[in-house]
């Protein structure tokens, strides 16, 4: 399947199969969640970690939902995986399509460039949070990591730069560590 086809799939799914929720409700809910985490943990690195964990738990559930809605088949290679994340995943849930860029030469790493992150609306980080490296939308990283893990891909996903830190676009780096074999979980009787 080509990138264009994925785009059509994403747009179709967004139009027909998705229940929409008020954007502001969503943005404020997420905002107050992050702020509460900041208050509870009092450490921005710990907040990043928690957001990533939450995202992971969302991702492992979400992936089935996406595949069921769109009827996509297994991706042939990591390049098409990237296209699906951007043109189907982000499109269906957030109505944005980050661009896929900066492929590494071995084809195992790429960047998602987001220039209109809806979560950033209204948000302005306090200088301290920028300094200590709070990634406000770190939940995305977890979601991608969780979703890919369910597809037998172990990945590292992290923010490289963020509009809220003063960069002109946000960049999420996705790195494929290894393809997991289908195996029985360690503590599964």
């Amino acid at each position: 399947m080509s990138a264009k086809q994925y785009k059509t799939v994403g747009e179709e799914a967004w139009k027909n199969n998705v229940e929409k929720v008020n954007a502001e409700l969503f943005i404020f809910t997420y905002g107050s969640l992050v702020v509460q985490l900041v208050k509870d943990y009092e450490d921005y690195t710990a907040v990043n970690k928690q957001l990533d964990k939450m995202g992971y738990n969302i991702g492992v559930r979400l992936i089935d939902d996406v595949l069921a809605r769109t009827g996509l088949e297994k991706c042939a290679d990591f390049h098409s995986t990237a296209e699906v994340i951007s043109k189907v995943g982000f499109k269906v849930f957030l109505n944005i399509t980050p661009s896929v860029q900066n492929w590494s030469s071995d084809g195992k790493e790429f960047s998602l460039i987001i220039d209109d992150n809806p979560l950033n609306d209204f948000c302005e980080l306090p200088p301290r949070a920028v300094q200590d490296g709070l990634w406000y939308s770190n939940v995305f990283c977890g979601v991608i990591r969780g979703a890919l893990e369910m597809m037998q891909m172990q990945t590292e996903v992290y923010f490289v730069r963020d509009v809220l830190h003063g960069a002109d676009v946000s960049e999420i780096r996705v790195k494929l560590v290894k393809v997991l074999d289908e195996e029985v979980p360690a503590n599964d009787e």
């Binding site: 404020f28 905002g31 702020v35 948000c123 306090p126």
Partner: protein, 171 residues
């Protein structure tokens, strides 16, 4: 505030007025006209719902000796705002108080945050627009999850935007 200080402040105002008149003399060069335009000074403050100041700014020419007097005048006008705000249904209360050649205009948001502007003679319309634009900015600040209501507004972006608005509508 001591009466001595107040008196000093008043003297300064008088001096300010004298300068003004001199510059407004017909036949003045363009340079002095320019100074007249620049000489307008504004003091803007946002007062929270529990009467604590959230934000203050000065536009135009700033005179160090006026600083506390300006705060004092605006503070005194808050009581008048309390009286006037129930007489009208709009947010913009126009001029609520006068002090020598200064006028205090006020704007009350529905959530009872008060915008106070201390200024010299000035038509109403630009002030109304300035307040409305500031209201919009204030709303966006309130919507920021990291901002807690009724705390000082420390955001530099907010500060910069208010100054831009002041340039656009007032100065």
């Amino acid at each position: 505030m001591s009466t001595k200080f107040l008196k000093e402040g008043i003297d300064n105002v008088q001096i300010g007025m004298d300068c003004h008149r001199e510059m407004l003399q017909p036949g003045g060069s363009h340079d002095s006209m320019l100074i007249v335009v620049m000489a307008a000074s504004f003091y803007f403050a946002i007062v929270g719902t529990n009467d604590s100041p959230l934000y203050e700014a000065e536009f135009g020419i700033q005179r160090e000796e006026n600083k506390y007097l300006q705060q004092f005048v605006v503070h005194a006008a808050l009581d008048l705002v309390d009286d006037v705000q129930f007489m009208t249904s709009g947010c913009y209360l126009k001029a609520v108080d006068r002090y020598n050649d200064w006028t205090v205009s006020a704007y009350v948001t529905p959530s009872n945050a008060r915008f106070m502007l201390l200024h010299e003679a000035k038509p109403e319309d630009p002030i109304r627009s300035f307040f409305a634009a500031c209201h919009e900015l204030y709303l966006r600040t309130l919507l920021n999850p990291f901002y807690e209501a009724n705390t000082s507004i420390l955001s530099q972006a907010f500060d910069a935007k208010v100054h831009t608005l002041a340039k656009k509508y007032l100065i």
